[in-house]
Subunit: 134 residues, 2 copies
Amino acid sequence: MARDIAEKMLLKAGLRPTSQRVGLAAILFDGVDKHVTPDDVMRLAQSAGVDVSVATVYNTLGQLAAAGMLRRVTLDVGRTFFDTNVSPHHHLFLEDEDKLVDISGDAVRIIGLPDLGEGLRIKSVDVLVRVERG
Amino acid sequence: MARDIAEKMLLKAGLRPTSQRVGLAAILFDGVDKHVTPDDVMRLAQSAGVDVSVATVYNTLGQLAAAGMLRRVTLDVGRTFFDTNVSPHHHLFLEDEDKLVDISGDAVRIIGLPDLGEGLRIKSVDVLVRVERG
DNA sequence: ATAGTTGCAAAAGTTTTGCATTGTA
DNA sequence: TACAATGCAAAACTTTTGCAACTAT
């Protein structure tokens, strides 16, 4: 049952497993990696009969991302995706389908990044490959 | 005079060199590469005495980006930058200063990107390095 | 009781659209 | 005069905030 997993993930994230959050987490952590927008989540919640407001969807997604349970991927104006795959990896964006696809993080190597000055630390390196039919 | 250059760029982009657009282009293409948000541009326009609405700032930036005169760089929610450097290159984002810095495109090499299926074409490869003090 | 947490209505902020106006042929 | 392009007010959309209600001790 996905609800059990959902509850465990919420507790691990230090969030109370309220009915809204359990409902959302059950949708997100069903065992299949996904890339969803807040709007997708809202729609999925409605279909699943989870009664929740848009604000709570945003807040919950933000909290899960802050807890490292989701990865926020910002693409273009007004296109924020949340990725349930939180291991280091990159993304391919299929423009024609408006869809994000993971690229394994191990496979990709980036060489030639500049040395950082004193006291600076790399927080993340994201590669986004935009792909179109042609 | 930056106004002459501005007018040339607009004509090259197929846009009428109206007073608003010339004013904005003169701010953007003053010979120094910059990373600006629509809000920055609005403020700069006001300081420069260019009378223009927010909508026109957005529309003009979008038109210049579509014409390849500006590069749109989307970072996070509600953080769209326009880069006057349109040659292929990557970006470093300094979180503490909320500032984008260019990384030369020639210096960086990315290896291990997956083969694309039939009929797909890479449109762009963007690397974003997030940096923080630490 | 009370201190902390939650969910959401309302507010804030960003971007796009519809259309009156202006410019062009 | 007709036809296309422009600029912007207003609308649409995305995200955050403030606070009443709830929970746990």
